[in-house]
Symmetry: C2
């Protein structure tokens, strides 16, 4: 039996037993607030601590949330039984109803049902995707890789200019052939398209992934699976600004709000390839920088304090950004010619292993 | 020679001749403001009128823009010669420079170079994609279709759960096999995933496209090519609100800001399948509606006046939305069960041809 189904059934049985024993049914849920999230320097991951809270049925303050948690769990069990996948929005609509002879709804807003999903994810120590709840999709991939997904055999190297659209759920993908020396993760789609058109992935034996901004869960999980199952280095390539660098850190260490799944969504061996503020001098990009806004500077100042940004290289780049009040986009490299990124910047960085930790 | 290259060369030759004849070099550009955009009831398209403006080199008010237009044209010619494609952001960086011994830049912001691209598009009567300038990407497709793109043969029916990621430029795609009775265009990815998982496109012989919100140019062009080249009906499926209905109208008639390319991006034979406000009664969705915001109502009031929303069916739906102050999302159908959309709503609507014009 699948892990998710088993754990959901165990939750149901536990509750049933408590009822039969005339106990107060309850669920013990690890606390997800910042106070219970720590950076583990050994595993290089943001992880959730041991603090938990119990949610009781016979407690006026808990009763509605307890009911909502069980409704979501029961619906997820249904999804398992019928082998269906759906979205958080759909879950909300399916479970939204009014109690007979009352004005009281099971859920009034999706903002009530979403946290129940994360509660289940952290309580059962399982991925939301394993519960068959799809997340937003974003991200594309190309490379010398053949996979099997839903019975289809798909060659990521033969999908024309579009590449393969990464689905929200990559749990059941089977990798049939993976021929690559490394994975290059690119924040911007425009740079991905440039590299794809220049056949960079063929020449460099790379798998190219674009996150199209902050990486979606499916994309992070795919990077993690490829990196760990095939022992591939991961190089992340973002804009030179606090936002881009944070995208990198989420791919590598996980995020604060999803610290409980860092072990499945994070890729601790990922390295940062660029852009850095230092690159601006090294590659003569000064004319192509942008003024950093207040919000960029503030973010950089926060990141200076994060335990996982304490490496001297990162402290240097963050401080440079704050001092000079500048940032640079991946497209800035086009200022040196469209093929500069493919023929000069990336080969030099990768050959000389000029990475940040 | 390709059309784009030919037209760019003609523009260059015309300018050169004017210089050689000691004339004032100029470019005649159709005006793109609302005053020059009309709805053509016969072709069912938003079209641009005959008004033009001339941009002169020897005119203090025009000189910089004239130079910028020619710089963008020259860069596009380079793209043609080298057979490269790039983004508007990259174009900006490539062309941004400071004139020697001055503080004057060719372009200070991308907001200066973007309109030059549209000027060229409308002047040369050519698509931006033909100029090799990629637009944003968004949108996925599945179906019983085989295409050739950049030498790769791609079967849209064998791409697993992800589907084919529609690229920004679909001009050079070759359709090798198209087996479908119609094209179903879906606003929301979640509904697309539901239908894909339920094998709707196989059972119904449909091509499924999700626009993921407002449709990107590549997605609109792909729909238009499929519809016209294979004489396929197009049914559009959006949320029941003014925003969703506008997405439909842009697919069908084109948009005000891009009226000059409606003939290549619009699909006049498209029909609206749902959701309508009337559907809420017909399918018992009342519990799953949302309160329409001020901005939704205001948009609906504007749309009431648009010539292309004058059909009685549309007037009725817009007025219903305004009166009842409600809207409904595609996901509302899940309130009736996850498979309601696949097994009841869509088959009924399509079988009975319950479309809005």
């Amino acid at each position: 039996m699948k892990e998710a189904k088993k754990k959901l059934e165990q939750l149901g049985e536990k509750t049933l037993n408590e009822i039969n024993r005339n106990e107060n049914p309850n669920i013990e849920i690890p606390i997800r607030s910042l106070s219970n999230v720590t950076y583990d320097a050994k595993t290089k991951m943001l992880t959730i601590g041991d603090k938990t809270a119990k949610r009781y049925f016979f407690n006026v303050a808990h009763a509605k949330k307890f009911m909502q948690t069980l409704m979501v769990a029961a619906f997820c069990k249904e999804l398992q039984d019928q082998n269906l996948h759906t979205s958080l929005r759909d879950l909300f609509y399916v479970l939204k109803r009014t109690f007979p002879n009352s004005q009281e709804n099971t859920f009034d807003e999706q903002s009530e049902s979403d946290p129940m999903v994360v509660d289940l994810e952290v309580t059962l120590d399982i991925l939301r995707e394993q519960l068959h709840l799809n997340a937003d999709i974003r991200g594309r991939v190309v490379g010398n890789v053949i996979i099997e997904d839903r019975g289809d055999v798909i060659d990521w190297g033969k999908l024309g200019s579009g590449g393969w659209a990464i689905p929200s759920n990559v749990e059941e993908i089977i990798f049939k052939k993976v021929k690559a020396d490394y994975i290059l993760v690119i924040e911007k789609n425009a740079s991905f398209e440039r590299l794809h058109e220049d056949k960079f992935w063929q020449k460099q034996k790379a798998i190219l992934v674009t996150t199209q901004g902050q990486s979606a869960r499916g994309t992070r999980r795919l990077i993690q699976r490829l990196a760990t199952e095939f022992n591939l280095p991961v190089y992340v390539f973002t804009d030179a600004d606090s936002y881009g660098w944070y995208i990198y850190s989420v791919i590598k260490y996980g995020s604060i709000s999803l610290a409980h799944v860092s072990d499945r969504l994070g890729t601790p061996n990922a390295k940062f390839l660029g852009l850095t503020i230092s690159d601006i001098d090294e590659f003569g990009l000064k004319n192509f920088t942008i003024k950093a806004e207040e919000v960029d500077i503030k973010r950089a100042q926060e990141m200076l304090k994060y335990e996982w940004f304490q490496a001297p290289e990162w402290q240097k780049e963050l401080k440079l950004m704050i001092q000079r009040k500048i940032k640079a986009e991946l497209e800035a490299l086009s200022g040196k010619g469209l093929k500069f990124i493919t023929e000069t910047y990336l080969p030099k960085k990768i050959k000389n292993k000029e990475f940040l930790p």
